[in-house]
């Protein structure tokens, strides 16, 4: 759906999205990185298991909930990528601890 610009080749970090390593600009949000990676959806709903993806990118819709470094219910649009970050889709309510 989305792509990074060709013009600038900024500082990048390497993160793992659904098991694949990708390199993404240092200042981008997790949700943005995921939208570029084209994995399609970021979570499935607890009610009907439907796929969902980020809607607002400003922290108000909670559609971007993902499992980040093993922690469920993180708003991917509010977190900045970090080197080595592990990003996974959240299925339903996510892993319970």
């Amino acid at each position: 759906m989305f792509k990074f610009p060709q013009e600038d080749n900024p500082d990048t970090v390497t993160v793992t999205i659904e098991g694949s390593e990708v390199s993404v600009p240092r200042n981008c949000s997790v949700a943005a990185a995921v939208l570029v990676s084209a994995i399609g959806h970021t979570r499935t709903t607890p009610v009907s298991n439907s796929p969902r993806a980020p809607l607002c990118m400003m922290g108000v819709c909670y559609e971007c909930l993902m499992v980040i470094d093993g922690q469920a219910n993180r708003r991917a649009c509010q977190e900045t990528v970090r080197e080595g970050m592990r990003i996974e889709r959240q299925q339903g309510v996510g892993p319970t601890r």
């Binding site: 759906m1 989305f2 792509k3 990074f4 610009p5 013009e7 600038d8 900024p10 993404v24 600009p25 200042n27 981008c28 949000s29 943005a32 939208l35 570029v36 399609g40 959806h41 970021t42 709903t45 009610v47 009907s48 439907s50 796929p51 969902r52 993806a53 980020p54 809607l55 607002c56 990118m57 400003m58 922290g59 108000v60 819709c61 909670y62 559609e63 909930l65 219910n73 649009c77 509010q78 900045t80």
Partner: protein, 464 residues
């Protein structure tokens, strides 16, 4: 972070930053907390890290943010990014969440400057991956220059739609179509406000310029669009709409929608501030005095969460609130307060000339707001459809809050932010009533979901 501040500002957009600059200049111990990673708010997002190339693509207004953020950085105001607020009450106790730890801090005065959000309007298929808000597209563009890969359809009504289309064209994005959902007769209704709007004509000149550039680039601008729908299996494949009695389809994997912006009122409502329905802006807004003081003593609001006025007005409103706080805390006298405030008031008066015109031009038809198809999901979190809301109305549950407790609409993670307007409109339509001040879910803290672990961090001694 300290446990108490004379002035705590929530939100680092134009209103919060300008208030902090004024307060700090006068020696007040002020802190700004903000959900984002860097100052600027939505409007000046990523202003400190953006490449000069992209600044050009974003246009002149955005650059104003540089000055503001630089002044803020140079001031003595404390700044706490990545900090969200989950509760606020009438005793100026603020529940915050930072680095997974919850805390409660207090303040003599609180300024809520947490801005606006895009108006959610449910339509068929709006939950499909590939359907996003236009503002979300702009956020990614500002953050890292991210643009649609394979074209985009843009739809809705509001200045941001034109602005983003123009910005995308500069970045080489293919816009398949721009669908305008505002009714044809909006223009007629807006015309009487044109003379006044011309006093702030730069807004109009710019809007027309964008529109011309978009047309020149060969983008079809399609007016009079209704029944926008998104279709696909698990992700967006095509969109459809009605126009002049015919259904049209466009294949696309990305639809960006925008229906204007509305104040974020969850915190001010949780704090018990009085709000009223604004029929011109078609939104709920807090009742404020001329300084931005709410009905709760010590609690001020400035910026777009006070009602939509735009970034420049927000800056001045933030300053006004700061002057009043400085006056109430005995730091400046009344004469100084009024002298300073006069300049800001003059500026705001001039800037706000454009608003009545814009409000009429981009006004949403009642059908789009209230006559949602029965099978369309309204509450995205709990997957409650318009039909389920109507069924509850038929069962005698006529208030938003009743419907909420029976259906769970508005009880998911977003706490009703995405559905509160739609549910209120659907119920109003069923009862043949106009919108009113109490048409909405009640808001209770925490206004953002907290995990048990985060809540437990409030009571460290009991953890041991």
């Amino acid at each position: 972070m300290k446990a108490h501040y004379p002035l705590l500002i929530i939100g680092a957009g134009p209103a919060g930053l300008s208030a902090a600059i004024v307060a700090a200049e006068h020696g007040l111990d002020v802190a700004v907390i903000d959900d984002q990673a860097a100052p600027g708010g939505q409007i000046y997002r990523a202003i400190e890290s953006i490449s000069p190339e992209r600044i050009k693509q974003l246009g002149g207004d955005y650059q104003r943010g540089h000055e503001l953020v630089a002044q803020f950085r140079a001031s003595s105001a404390e700044y706490h990014p990545h900090t969200s607020v989950w509760s606020l009450n009438d005793r100026q106790e603020i529940g915050i969440l930072t680095q997974d730890q919850t805390r409660i801090i207090t303040a003599d005065h609180v300024l809520l400057a947490n801005g606006a959000m895009e108006r959610p309007i449910p339509f068929k298929g709006w939950t499909l991956p590939g359907v996003m808000n236009a503002g979300a597209g702009q956020v990614m563009f500002k953050q890292a220059g991210i643009i649609p890969e394979d074209g985009v359809v843009m739809a809705g009504s509001g200045p941001l739609l034109l602005l983003l289309a123009w910005q995308y064209l500069h970045a080489g994005v293919k816009i398949r179509a721009l669908l305008d959902t505002s009714p044809y007769n909006n223009l007629l209704r807006a015309l009487p406000h044109l003379p006044r709007a011309l006093m702030a004509h730069h807004y109009i000149t710019r809007g027309l310029h964008y529109q011309n550039m978009i047309k020149l680039a060969g983008v079809p601008i399609i007016k009079g669009v209704s029944r926008l729908s998104a279709h696909g299996d698990n992700k967006l494949e095509k969109i459809s709409y009605r126009r002049h009695g015919k259904t049209h389809e466009i294949e696309t994997d990305l639809l960006l929608v925008h229906f204007g912006v509305v104040p974020q009122t969850h915190l001010s409502r949780a704090a018990g501030c009085r709000h009223s329905w604004d029929n011109n802006q078609q939104c709920l807004r807090p009742q404020l005095d001329e300084w931005g003081a709410t009905s709760q003593p010590g609690l001020f609001i400035a910026g777009d969460n006070a009602g939509i006025g735009g970034a420049r007005t927000a800056e001045h409103a933030g300053r006004l609130a700061a002057f009043q706080v400085l006056f109430q805390q005995g730091i400046i006298d009344q004469a100084q307060r009024d002298r300073e405030a006069n300049k800001d008031r003059k500026w705001m008066r001039d800037d706000l000339h454009i608003r009545p015109f814009l409000e009429k031009l981009f006004r949403h038809p009642w059908g789009l707001l209230a006559k949602t198809d029965d099978d369309t999901i309204v509450c995205r979190c709990e997957e409650i459809t318009a039909g389920q809301i109507r069924a509850e109305f038929q069962h005698g549950h006529e208030a938003s809050n009743q419907v909420k407790f029976i259906t769970r609409s508005g009880m998911g993670p977003c706490q009703g932010r995405q559905c509160m307007l739609a549910v209120a409109h659907i119920l109003a339509n069923e009862s043949n009533q106009p919108m009113h001040d109490d048409a909405f879910y009640k808001v209770r803290p925490p206004v953002t979901p907290l995990t048990l672990g985060q809540l437990a961090s409030l009571y460290p001694e009991e953890q041991e």
